[in-house]
């Protein structure tokens, strides 16, 4: 029988107001194994912790139950206290009589018996607690940043600056991400390339950063401190060592295909760099398009390449590396607005998305920086901007606000006015949201100084008529129907999660919200951590974000990663699964369902009759096991059990709870 001490916290009146502490104490004294029970006003205070520590010594306690707030709040506090008194911290159990009891029930008649039931269950469980040791894990002093946009670049630079090696993995041929596609940035109207390019170059040249472009994550195994990652280096067919980035190859290449970077509005070659400032300035051959790969002839690039860097024989390579921490900064996609039939996107060349319109301003863009209609090359006189295309649309799109559209629309309206002074902008909006330093001022300038007409309302239909686009909508303030004959329409399409985010999330073991944006561990207090220790998130892969927010979050993630890498050892999960080899039949169903590949078969030699017999059983690697316990349910004989949440313990809790009605 254990020697259990029960300690009940008043939490001021938070608990004591709804739970009769004396009654709960009295009841606790009668639980099996309880040899001491005490209470205190604030158990989590130093004095409160001392009460526990002293009692452990005085009463020779080997189990402690605290009736306090949620274990998610102070379990660690009390475990530490217990440890300081020489008790294994896992011999302490928390009964959550605040969040799950006193705060959700109004009076003592209800709260007290429930608190007693929860204490009884905790005492029953504690009686079966075993001392546990969290395994000590090594930390690989190397970080992986996935995504080479501004967030990824920033995170990589910060980690590198702190003195750790970073692999920055980008799936495109160049880093830069969405920001590289932008002309100017709000609210200061700096040239995007001007501020991004130096960062890209810095990243490329930083001795601690290993740039891995045209690479994809193939597999992630392991756990915090020791993630074993397989990275697929897609074949470039260009030797990066020999290549000088002279550009002759893509000049000479005869085959063309729509440019992804230019949103398909212009063409690129089959051997290409995505944009002129690309880092690294090393082209790739698009195998799907390349005439040589398709038809076996051409090879012009090979013939023309002065340093003979073309290598058609190159293969995809798989690089296996171990990392201590991972930062995920994979960015976002823009919604394809063609799902909204009323906007006619895709039906007419002058109906563009925000990102497409952005490219028209860029000197290297499809129009060489001239803002003209793609249909006839004439500058637009009337441009209608439509906000919230897909965002804040409960019925058909995303519930959320894409956050950046109000601002980039204002920016584009201003830029338009500067390029085409006679142009007039109309903005259909639901609400204009301009939270951010200088944002409100910027938007007002657009409305007031740049003559942008903001109209609260929605557009019901857009259709071409003669050589303009008829935009029909409703002004929801006046209720008037509006019809504008526009030269161009710009749709502020929602920012959405990357199409491959769910796959990536599963691959690296982090979870997502219902829109497939990666989840932070806590919306307020752990905004860059994920539920998987050692993996952090930054930028728009978590939620739509503007550049300053992305950069800030990237630095935050970097600090978290650096904090982790700076540790000599990490403490792993103590509540891991373990196999009773004598009972395990070796069916290995547990292996099949383990999400961490923590279970492997091992061979066992067993006495059988006069000799021995080889037998296969399952074995858990406690460093890999994260303690979910799913294996325990798949094991019909209960041969695999979860420490800290064992079958015995959970059944004891059920029994205890049901003993008292």
């Amino acid at each position: 029988m254990p020697r259990t001490g029960v300690f009940i916290c008043h939490c001021g009146s938070n608990i004591a107001g709804t739970v009769d502490i004396d009654q709960a104490l009295e009841a606790s004294r009668n639980f099996p194994g309880v040899v001491h029970a005490d209470e205190y006003r604030y158990l989590c205070s130093e004095v409160g912790q001392d009460i526990i520590k002293k009692a452990i010594e005085e009463y020779n306690l080997d189990r402690v139950v605290v009736g306090t707030c949620s274990p998610r709040m102070h379990e660690n506090t009390f475990r530490k206290a217990a440890a300081e008194a020489g008790l294994n911290p896992y011999l302490l159990e928390v009964a959550n009589i605040r969040e799950h009891c006193s705060w959700v029930h109004k009076d003592m008649e209800v709260g007290t018996p429930k608190a007693i039931a929860l204490l009884r269950a905790a005492a029953a469980k504690a009686a079966l607690n075993d001392p546990l040791e969290a395994p000590e894990l090594d930390v690989e002093k190397r970080a992986l940043v996935i995504g080479g946009g501004i967030a990824g670049i920033q995170a990589a630079l910060d980690i590198a600056e702190a003195g750790y090696i970073v692999d920055l993995v980008e799936k495109d041929p160049s880093i830069g991400g969405r920001m590289a596609q932008l002309e100017k940035t709000f609210p200061t109207l700096d040239c995007s390339a001007c501020i991004l390019t130096p960062k890209m170059v810095e990243a490329a040249q930083h001795p601690n950063i290993n740039l891995m472009t045209y690479c994809e994550i193939d597999e992630v195994k392991g756990f915090v401190g020791q993630f074993d990652v397989t990275i697929k280096q897609k074949a470039r067919y260009v030797d990066p060592v020999k290549c000088t980035g002279c550009g002759i190859c893509w000049e000479k290449c005869p085959s063309k295909t729509p440019s992804e970077f230019e949103m398909g509005m212009t063409k690129r070659k089959s051997i290409y760099v995505p944009f002129p400032q690309a880092v690294p300035m090393i082209p790739v051959i698009d195998r799907e398009r390349c005439l040589y790969f398709k038809k076996g002839r051409c090879q012009i690039c090979e013939k023309e390449c002065p340093p003979q860097a073309i290598d058609y024989e190159q293969q995809d390579e798989y690089i296996e590396r171990r990392y201590g921490a991972i930062v995920v900064a994979t960015g976002y996609d823009q919604l394809d607005p063609s799902v909204y039939g009323e906007y006619g996107y895709g039906q007419h060349p002058d109906i563009l998305t925000g990102l497409e319109f952005e490219r028209l301003f860029n000197a290297s863009g499809p129009t060489g920086g001239k803002v003209v209609r793609l249909s006839d090359g004439k500058p637009p006189k009337k441009v209608v901007f439509i906000q919230c295309v897909g965002s804040r649309d409960k019925a058909r799109g995303m519930n959320y606000c894409s956050k950046i559209c109000c601002m980039f629309t204002a920016k584009q309206a201003i830029l338009l006015k500067e390029k085409v002074p006679e142009a007039k902008s109309y903005v259909f909006y639901i609400d204009v949201r301009t939270a951010g330093k200088g944002y409100e001022e910027f938007q007002r300038r657009a409305a007031e100084e740049y003559d942008v007409a903001y109209m609260r309302g929605q557009v019901g239909k857009i259709f071409p008529e003669d050589d303009y686009l008829v935009v029909r909508g409703v002004d929801s303030l006046s209720g008037r129907n509006i019809e504008i004959k526009a030269d161009m329409v710009v749709l502020a399409a929602a920012s959405i999660a990357r199409h491959d985010a769910p796959d990536l999330g599963r691959l690296i073991g982090i979870n997502s919200d219902s829109y497939h944006f990666f989840n932070e561990a806590h919306p307020k207090l752990k905004p860059v951590e994920t539920h998987t220790a050692g993996i952090f998130i930054a930028g728009a892969c978590q939620a739509p974000k503007d550049i300053p927010d992305s950069v800030a979050q990237a630095s935050a993630a970097a600090v978290k990663a650096v904090g982790l890498l700076s540790k000599e050892k990490l403490l792993g999960e103590a509540c891991t699964a373990e196999v009773d080899h004598s009972q395990c039949s070796g069916c290995l169903n547990c292996e099949a369902i383990c999400p961490y590949t923590a279970i492997t078969p091992v061979e066992l030699e067993e006495r059988y009759k006069d000799g021995t017999l080889q037998r296969t059983v399952a074995e858990v690697n406690p460093a890999l096991c994260q303690g979910c316990g799913s294996c325990t349910v798949t094991c019909r004989s209960g041969s695999i059990n979860l420490k800290g949440f064992s079958n015995e313990q959970i059944l004891a809790e059920v029994d205890a709870i049901c003993l008292q009605r």
Partner: protein, 152 residues
């Protein structure tokens, strides 16, 4: 005590055992508390790391010991802290739920819900709804082992 079983009206209060995963539903319960939402005290929560940890035998044990209803709560599909625990429990518990219904349990007696850590309101609602439903059904005698409370 066992008289309560036969007495549907006078003072009978259902006992509902809820198994909640640590990362989502239990945290949702914490949020319900922090937000001072109220729900009936009939529900008593047992914390487990993941809904994938819920062995159907735990549920049956609760019924044996006198629970009138059992509610398993876990992270929403796709949100599992352990990636796949709730996907696995969805399969297991779906099969199991149908089995206990086939054995004659009313469907309301055993439920599974997905409650995220930010859904304190949903936590309180589900607990209230479950309690109301069980109250309407009355005490559960199926599989209850009268011996558990015969000697107290």
């Amino acid at each position: 005590m066992s008289a309560a079983l036969n007495d549907n009206t006078a003072g009978w209060e259902p006992l509902i055992v809820s198994f909640c995963c640590n990362w989502c539903s239990y945290a949702g319960g914490d949020l319900a508390g922090t937000s001072r939402m109220t729900y009936p005290a009939n529900v008593k929560v047992i914390r487990v790391p993941c809904s994938g940890r819920i062995n159907p035998m735990f549920v049956l044990r609760a019924f044996q010991r006198g629970a009138d209803g059992v509610l398993v709560a876990g992270c929403h599909p796709g949100d599992c802290h352990y990636t796949s625990g709730n996907y696995q429990s969805r399969r297991r518990l779906s099969a199991f739920k149908r089995l206990v219904e086939f054995a004659g349990f009313e469907p309301e007696r055993f439920e599974v819900r997905w409650i995220s850590s930010s859904e304190g309101d949903k936590f309180a609602e589900e607990m209230t709804e479950m309690t109301e439903k069980i109250k309407a059904l009355g005490p559960n005698g199926k599989m209850r082992d009268a011996r558990w409370q015969s000697v107290i």
